[in-house]
Amino acid sequence: MSLDKATVRKISELARIEVPESDLEPLAQELSAIIGWIEQLAEVDTDNVAPMRSVMPITHAWRADAVTDGGMQEAITRNAPSAHDGYFVVPKVVE
């Protein structure tokens, strides 16, 4: 399947990456080439094959429902581009 500019624009919205208008066409061609190449998977018979989500059989472990870590507000907000009083500062989202 070949991706057009409108599809690439929609993907960039979903991925929350701003793509300049001038990049849309070249990106459409690049992504179409990759998608075209991966479409050869259609040849493989996968009827009655269960999808593989975890390659090693993992038995999930039980643990006590107890707090084992925390109380490090300062350490965590130290990396924030903008922080105030132990909170992350973000643009206003509710009018």
Binding site: A15, E18, L27, E30, I76, N79, F88
Partner: protein, 492 residues
């Protein structure tokens, strides 16, 4: 350059224990080598002060006859492992200024074992690449050049800085991570050894995530023994990683004998890909002959879904990456680019923060997971992945290990293949299938190309059977007798 940088990890360990060499002398020699080799751009962050401080502490412990498995041994860490108080970039602009408040489990184990931290090595951005050309911090130059000219070559990727540092005698050994070949391919290109253990053997806690069902930490060394020694200190169960295996770590180095007598070694006919250089086909044959001469039986096997491994990988890995990289939004750490609204800020931050290859993969991943395409691409790829795993399961009913080339070519020039993503992806044609199956695999330097560049052979083993992988690797190492130094070391 001090000769102590030419010692292997295991040999340096013996000399430290015998007090023939101090950790401080050994570390100083490596710190000097690191400063002299800056033109390689192998490190993003150097930590010489931390290294010398750790070496002094190691000498005190060694003097009392104490010390861990890697006491006083200077190593390098791929800059994908979070290190407390030391910048961690993942090779990306979007993590600008990020200093982790915590330590990855693997590096915590290494420091507990006494290892000395030289610094954080360069890599492809978020480990996405096979050349180290996609790093925001600039490409790594391989210490190797062709015999005929001095043009820069790539060290491979994504763990290119770690591989270059070990090959150039800057570090005794280094950590890497492997998602589709990111340890084995750079090891082959740089003429060193690199092992990716079974998925779940090393904790992923504190390793910047790329594709969580595939990512696995592993080790680089200049010999099979050195790689085994480093891996031994890295491996083990971690309750902080739900996919970490609760299994004891065997003493691989103690059991390492290189005996292959009676082993059945599979050679998959599907790995004879079109356009593979004759010298690689020849080296592969030679590798099989070496193992046969040591008493192994060479068996032709079939892995019929091999050709579908790369396209499967290029659905699964970008899909997982698009989800994992959603966290980089300019709010809690790293780069922030101001915007009118919250959504605008996200989009501008991510546009400025991600390079071209990361943007490409996040967009592919977003597309294959989007409504209407999920079943056709992502679910289909997960089903084909099972087919690939079943191929290996059937093969391992007949054989103990599998022998293949590591990569379809020797190192290429910096800048080559950048305009054709699919051509770049083909570098990983021999390493991706075992990544999809979660199997342990090693690359061992086995010979030189006609142009004088290292070529590697890969040994793939059964799940949790790193021992056989290491033993077959050691048999190849002994037979190959690969002792060529990178020419770049002599010429500077």
């Amino acid at each position: 350059m001090s000769s102590s940088v030419n010692l292997g990890l295991a040999e340096a360990r013996r000399r430290l224990a015998a007090r023939e060499l101090s950790a401080r002398e050994l570390t100083l020699a490596h710190v000097e080598a690191m400063a002299e080799a800056r033109q390689l751009n192998a490190f993003i962050t150097e930590t010489p002060e931390l290294a010398l401080e750790a070496a002094t502490a190691s000498d005190a412990r060694l003097a009392k006859g104490e010390g861990g498995l890697l006491e006083g041994l200077p190593i390098a860490i791929k800059d994908l492992f979070c290190t407390r108080g030391v910048a961690t970039t993942a090779g990306s602009h979007i993590l600008d200024g990020f200093v982790p408040p915590y330590e990855s489990t693997v590096t915590a184990k290494l420091w507990a074992a006494g290892a000395v931290p030289l610094g954080k090595t360069n890599l492809d951005e978020f480990a996405m690449g096979s050349s180290n050309m996609t790093s925001y911090h600039g490409p790594v130059r391989s210490p190797w050049t062709k015999a005929s000219d001095n043009a820069d070559l790539v060290p491979g990727g994504s763990s290119g800085g770690s591989a270059a540092a070990v090959a150039a005698r800057i570090a005794l050994a280094a950590t890497g991570t492997d998602t589709g070949g990111s340890i084995r391919q750079p090891a082959a290109f740089c003429g060193i050894t690199g092992i990716k253990p079974t998925y779940g053997r090393c904790s992923r806690f504190g390793v910047v995530a790329f594709a969580s069902s595939l990512d696995q930490p592993g080790a680089f060394g200049r010999s099979v023994e050195d790689s085994a020694l480093l891996l031994q200190a890295m491996a083990g169960y971690d309750p902080n990683d739900s996919t970490s295996a609760d299994l004891a770590v065997p003493d691989w180095t103690a059991s390492l004998k290189g005996k292959v007598k009676g082993l059945r070694i599979g050679v998959p006919k599907e790995y004879r890909v079109d356009a593979m250089p004759e010298e690689i086909e020849k080296l592969w044959q030679e590798g099989a002959d070496w193992l046969r001469a040591e008493g192994a039986e060479i068996v032709e096997i079939a892995l019929p879904h091999t050709k579908y491994a790369l396209p499967t990988y290029y659905i699964i890995a970008p899909a997982e990456a698009s989800s994992n990289l959603a966290r980089y939004d300019g709010m809690r750490y790293g780069l922030r680019v101001e915007g009118e609204t919250l959504a605008d800020m996200y989009k501008k931050t991510r546009a400025a923060g991600f390079g071209a290859e990361v943007r490409r993969r996040v967009m592919i991943g977003t597309y294959v997971l989007s409504a209407g395409y999920y079943d056709a691409y992502y679910l289909k790829a997960q089903k084909v992945r099972r087919r690939i795993v079943e191929d290996f399961e059937q093969a391992f009913e007949k054989v103990d290990a599998i022998l293949t080339p590591t990569a379809p070519s020797a190192a290429f020039r910096a800048g080559e293949k950048l305009d054709d993503p699919v051509a770049m992806y083909l570098n990983d044609v021999f390493t991706v299938p075992s990544s999809l199956a979660g199997l342990p695999a090693i690359s061992v330097p086995a010979g030189l190309s006609a142009e004088g560049l290292p070529l590697g052979l890969q040994v793939i083993g059964k799940a949790w059977d790193e021992q056989t992988v290491l033993d077959v690797g050691l048999a190849i190492e002994r037979a190959a007798g690969f002792e060529v130094m990178p020419y770049g070391l002599a010429s500077g």
